[in-house]
């Protein structure tokens, strides 16, 4: 079957999609967006986290046909051109990336958290990232990165003229 949807703002079409295929497979194998990672295929690890109509979800658990006419946002859509999103930059600066496999999912999930909570507590961060597994870092650097991103985004908001929050 054919599936037509929007990815990172761009209208996208995938052909010859098997009816039981996941959104993750379509993204990685059919539309050239391998940023979302395929690890557990059962929603345990969060490596494949993408936005679906604005909500973070495990793309391995979304049937491809379910995204027809809907909007998907992937890790590839976070940066603005060559400028990394503050969340991405914070992960680099805090050393929160080791093998990097879990990173795309953590970035999307953190991006969503910081859109909803400007000053998340450690408990809120842990809760938000509870569905994202990292087997390298022990999570401390990841916690540092999220705190750093939150602080930088708060600084940017303070510096921006009123009404231009984002």
């Amino acid at each position: 079957m054919k599936v037509t949807f929007t990815v990172n703002g761009r209208p996208t079409e995938a052909d010859d999609v098997w009816e039981g295929e996941s959104l993750l497979y379509v993204l990685r194998e059919r539309v050239g967006l391998p940023g979302s990672k395929n690890a557990c295929e059962q929603g345990e690890c969060g490596s494949c986290t993408v936005y679906l109509d604005g909500d973070p979800v495990c793309s391995c658990l979304v049937a491809a046909g379910q995204v027809q006419d809907r909007e998907v946002g992937t890790v590839e859509g976070l940066a603005q051109g060559d400028t990394l999103d503050p969340v991405q930059q914070a992960f680099v600066d805090a050393g929160a990336v080791q093998c990097g496999f879990c990173t795309p999912g953590l970035l999307v999930q953190t991006h969503d958290l910081l859109n909803r909570a400007h000053h998340p507590s450690d408990a809120e961060i842990r809760e938000a990232l509870s569905g994202n597994l990292c087997r390298c870092t022990g999570y401390e650097k990841i916690m540092d990165a999220v705190r750093l991103a939150a602080a930088r985004k708060a600084d940017a908001r303070d510096a921006a003229p009123t009404g231009l929050e984002g």
């Binding site: 009816e19 295929e41 027809q68 509870s130």
Partner: protein, 294 residues
């Protein structure tokens, strides 16, 4: 395999009647796992994502919540914690934020796994399942819904439209044992709801029998105990011995097995502890509310 995408509820019922073996898929958090691991290859998937009303809820005149089958757990947590506190507590323990954005009570009921986190609160609340087909709609009391491991009372042409759950009239609790705070399939779980107007206490046991089930003997015991001692009226302290006995009876109502998540003996022990604690929590909440209102 076919991928069926009805745009309306009426169309979905017609499609299900034509394709009774089609597997309904909403959040996909169970169905896609089976597909990804090639455990099950259905003839057709019946996508329910386009049917808007399944994502909504209404409050009836008698304060019953008619919860659309696809309302994700995250919405229940955000929007309905006051009306459905037990279910909202259970919802908070489902999977992870990503899973809670997709998974729904309709999916828990459709899958009918004994470990589903929604089941114990639904049993304790006295919920009713609204099942529909082209032949019409029927309301299935939750006590009659679970038939066996992953088997429910739905006919092959039926879909779950909504779950009718009375708004809480007293404190409700949910407890679950697992190896960590997220991404846990329950080793066992327990829900209790006080219904002060009816002077009733209802329970739900999860993951400790072939189906979710109530602890009827424990309910009868605590009902009689509260009546005989006049505690509903006095709102006095619940003796620890009573709560312990309640826990023992809850454990006795279970029929657990040994499996990878835990032994039968451990499950019984954990149930007794969870039942004792949650009963005391709800009773103490009830007393505090009564004092605040007085």
């Amino acid at each position: 395999m076919e991928f069926l995408r009805p745009a309306t509820w009426e169309e979905a019922l017609a499609v299900k009647a034509q394709h009774p073996s089609a597997v309904p898929i909403a959040g996909g958090t169970d169905v896609m796992v089976d597909l990804n691991f090639d455990r099950h290859r259905p003839d057709a998937l019946l996508d329910l994502n386009r049917i808007h009303e399944l994502h909504t809820w209404q409050i009836a005149d008698d304060d019953t919540v008619r919860l659309g089958a696809s309302v994700p757990y995250s919405k229940i947590i955000d929007a309905l914690p006051d009306r459905l506190p037990g279910l909202a507590l259970g919802a908070r323990t489902v999977g992870s934020p990503q899973i809670r954005n997709r998974g729904s009570v309709g999916g828990n009921l459709g899958g009918a796994s004994p470990a589903g986190d929604a089941h114990p609160p639904l049993l304790a609340s006295g919920a009713t399942v609204e099942a529909a087909s082209v032949r019409g709609t029927r309301l299935i009391p939750i006590d009659d819904f679970y038939l066996g491991v992953k088997r429910n009372a739905l006919e092959p042409d039926e879909l779950i439209r909504a779950i009718h759950i009375p708004s809480a009239t007293g404190p409700q609790q949910f407890a679950k044992v697992g190896t960590r705070n997220a991404m846990v399939i329950a080793v066992c779980s327990f829900a209790v709801a006080l219904h002060p107007r009816a002077r009733d206490v209802r329970t739900g046991i999860g993951s400790a029998a072939p189906t979710p089930r109530r602890a009827s003997e424990a309910e009868a015991f605590i009902r009689a105990e509260l009546d005989d001692t006049g505690l509903w009226t006095s709102a006095g302290e619940l003796p620890l011995s009573t709560a312990k006995r309640f826990g023992e009876l809850v454990a006795r109502a279970a029929a657990p097995i040994d499996d990878v998540r835990g032994s039968a003996a451990y499950r019984r022990h954990a149930l007794a502890v969870m039942a004792r604690r949650t009963l005391l929590w709800t009773w103490n909440d009830h007393r505090a509310t009564g004092r605040a209102a007085a």
